[in-house]
Every structure is written in C-alpha cells, then in structure tokens.
Subunit: 285 residues, 2 copies
C-alpha cells in the first residue's frame, strides 16, 4: 500500500449501485465492452452480498462478465460482504489502489443495495451511477426522501419494460425537486438495455463528460481529497471498533461491564463511557 499509493490517481473510479436484480452486472459488462472498444483497460471490483438465501440469481448475473474473463486488459474481483463493514471498505480501497497503480484506466466499483454500507464502500469513487429498472420503486422513493445520496448519473435499465418511460419521467420530476444550494450539475438519466447494449454509448459519453467536467474546475482533486479523508475516518473508526471488541473479549472486567448492562444494573451510556475510558482513555464523551 505504502509503495503503490503514490503511483495512483490516474484511474477513473466509477461507483455503480442499485437494488439487486436491476441488471447492474450486465450493464457493467456492457460498459466494459464500450470502454475496451475505446482502447481503455478496465478493472471491476464487485461487492457481493452475503446471502442467507440462494445466491443463484446473483451468480447468474455475474456470468455476464464471462465475456471478459480472457481479456488481459480486464481485471475482475468479487468480494463478499461477510464480516465487518469497515473491513469491506478497507478491502475495496486496497483493490482500487492496486488496480489504479497497475494502470487501469477505468475501475468500476459495484455494490448491491443503496444503504449506508454501500455508501461507505463506494464513497471512494470519483462518480456514482445509480442503476434502476421499472418496478424498483423503493430506490426512487428513497432518493426522493433523501435517504439515498443523489448520484452523478442514473441508468434505467431494461428499457423495453412497460413502465420504463413512466419511471424516466418519475425520476426526472424527482430530480427537479432537488433545491439544495450545493447540488451539482443536472443529473443525466438514461434508458439502457444492457444485454443489447442500447443506450450504453450515451452513458459512457456522459461518464466521460462528467470526468472532464470534474477535472476542468479542479473539483476532481477536491472530491478525491474529501473522499479520502472521509475514508480514513471510516477505516480508523472501524479499526477502533475492532480494537474495542478485541479488548472486551480479552478482558474480564470489560466483559463484566457488558454483563452488568444485560442485567440492567448499569445503563448502556455509562457502559460506553466506562469502556471508552478503559480502552482508549477517552473521558470527554
């Protein structure tokens, strides 16, 4: 990491998120093809959910990427979400640094879902693409309600689906509601069909234009700086939590603090104070 990091900053990191089943992997496969046609080398970091159910459908999605398995200019890495959230953000960052230092021109960071954990994982991306499909109503509602962060671009995949056009106008009128003073440029919305590749060239052009725009006004470096600082905080607090857990596991007195909470002899906030004081010598709350 120490040796590779100074060599990074050349790759364009594109975060791709959206609910499961909308065809993110297929769309990424189509984007990879389009990037390869433009002579660019590509990395794909795919963060898989750890499912208690059958993973059949998700693995099936992934198969779309098989077209690119034999292309030495395309590197694909899947990572599970098992284990700790911070751990995954850290692993994703490491993979991105490696692919960037290795000279990949574009790196796609794919996450499933649209919650806080996905934001943590793809916060390091330069730009984010939200993939939806007609019928995936939660996401549009979550975007409208401000629960989901506003992406830099939106693709409505499976454009032949009845209701694709209705969703397009839904999403557009939702975006028009955004009255924040610090909102970025107009978020472009695309209708795509990942399998046929329709709408994909326009999407690639928009992603390219976004990068050019970010570069032109120095926003790219500012954004990367802010993203990295936030990432450092996330990783540090995740490590602090791991340290906390290890400390409690290995310390009878700390374990007894938790047991006293469970027996309702000690309230949870006093327990937090006591644990922080013992483990980190923090006393300021």
């Amino acid at each position: 990491m120490r040796e590779l990091y100074p060599r990074t900053g050349k790759a364009y990191a594109i975060g791709v998120t959206g609910p499961p089943g909308v065809g993110k992997s297929s769309l990424i496969a189509a984007l990879v093809r389009a990037e390869r046609e433009r002579g660019r080398s590509v990395g794909v970091i795919s963060v898989d959910p750890s499912s208690p159910f059958s993973q059949g459908a998700l693995l099936g999605d992934r198969i779309r990427l098989i077209d690119h398995f034999l292309d030495p200019e395309v590197f694909i890495r899947s990572m599970g979400t098992r284990g700790h959230l911070g751990g995954l953000a850290e692993a994703t960052l490491q993979a991105l640094v490696l692919l960037d230092a290795a000279g990949k021109d574009v790196v796609f960071l794919e996450t499933v879902g649209t919650g806080q954990s996905e934001v943590e994982v793809i916060r390091i991306a330069d730009t984010t693409l939200l993939v939806l499909m007609p019928g995936s109503g939660d996401s549009v509602q979550a975007l409208k309600a401000g629960i989901m962060e506003v992406p830099d671009a939106i693709a409505i995949n499976k454009m032949d689906h009845a209701g694709a056009k209705a969703m397009l106008s839904d999403v557009r009128s939702m975006l028009a509601l955004d009255q924040r003073p610090d909102r970025g440029p107009q978020v472009p919305v695309f209708l795509t069909d990942a399998v046929r590749g329709e709408g994909v060239p326009a999407l690639v052009e928009a992603l390219d234009a976004r990068l050019a725009g970010l570069r032109a006004d120095g926003e790219l470096e500012r954004r990367r700086g802010a993203n990295l600082a936030a990432e450092v905080f996330t990783l540090a607090s995740s490590r602090a939590r791991a340290h906390l857990e290890a400390s409690v596991a290995g310390d009878d007195e700390l374990r007894s603090v938790l047991e006293r909470v469970e027996r309702r002899e000690l309230d949870p906030l006093s327990a937090v104070d006591e644990i922080l004081r013992r483990v980190f010598r923090i006393t300021d709350g």
Copy 2:
C-alpha cells in the same frame, strides 16, 4: 439515564421498517389504535429522513398519527436523521429507555429505509416488522439477496392494490428459501389496509404471540442482552469516531496527516495507523 435504566425492560419494543411511501405511519397509527383498544399505553419513536427534497409526502404520512395527539397514553416523538449515525442510534436508545421507564406497554420504533443505518437504529427493538406494498420490489429483492435482515413479521400494506396477492406469494416463496440452520420461527406475512384497519387485528395478535414466544423460552432476555451489547459497541465506536474527528480538527499535526493523504504522499492505511496511534495509542492495527 443512570436512574431510569434499572426501571426498564417492561415495554415491548417493536421496530417497524420498510421503504418510504408504503404506509408505515398509517399502519403504526392503526396498530396504536388496536393497542389502545386493548388498554395498553403506547410510545412511538419515529426516525425521519433528512431530505434534500420536499418533505411534503412524509409529513403527510405523519398526519395519520394526529388521531392520537390528544390521548395522554400515547406519546409520539419524531427524530431527524441529520447529523451522525451513532448520534441517532444513541438518541433513539435514550427515547426508548425514557418511554419504557415511563411505563409505556408498547413502543414502536419507526425507521424509513432498509439499509445498515436503519438496522443500527432498530437493533434495540425486541421484534421487527417489515412493511411493504405491492410495487416496492427493491425490498423483496434485498431480502432475497440477504442484504436486508430477515424480520420477525411482514405486512404487505395497501392490500387492495393489484399485485398484492402476487407479492404475498413472492414473499412467501422467498422466505421458504431461507435454509439457515439458525433461522427463527416461520415469519408470518399479513395483508393489511392501514387506513381501513383491515388485517391489523391479526397483525397485533401475531406481534403478541411473538412476544409470548420470546418470553416462554428465555429468548427475549438473551436477545435483549445481545442487542444491548451490540448497541454499546455501536455507540462506543461512534463516540470514538467523534473523538477522532475532534482530535484531528484541533491538532495541526493530525490535520497534516490527512493533507499528506490528499497529496498522495502518504497512503490512507498508513494514515489510519498514524491517527490511531496518536489519538488512541492503538498500535495493534
């Protein structure tokens, strides 16, 4: 907190989650009415999203609860998600402790969305109810993919909507896929109409039965203990993060560590090590 906590443990805390717009608030209003008919006092802690867009629709939802504003046995508290995640989990915990100690029989914890942050907030609930409506496809997919934790009960609201029955069988077949050895009892699924109150008595009975079941085999105390221990960790690491941010803000040397990361002179993981060493004296990574 110190004085109130020993008096808690009597309230039944029910977490209610689901995507925005499915009618969670209306359903909670109907549940509150049903609980009041059974002579129980009720608390509602409603965690609102902080929207960059218009909040009209959400406020409109909340108005359903107005029926109960004049009932002294019903206490309703809304909290925004602005500010820090850990801060919200902490505020929610405090509100729950207060309502529990005040003698409320049932406390509903409402969160919008289904991501990691919602899980953190309602982890302290004794049981969780997921509210869906026909068309809210993301959630079902997220549940299937294992991104969302499996709830204790599911209500499909707006049961008159075309597609309600299809969703019911969708959700049921998805639940049948759950082959985890540690899965709990069969998750009951209900069709409800919050506005007319249809399906609500059956839902209340199921929630009551769930509590009785948890109590019967000692699972309630185990679950509460585990939830509280997890909550203490979450709050402690969130405080550690706040301490970290305050330390960096007030310390030129630590700020310069971040600036070196931004200039790519120092890699993020070395920065994490250095910050943890300086702020918490952690050296074990």
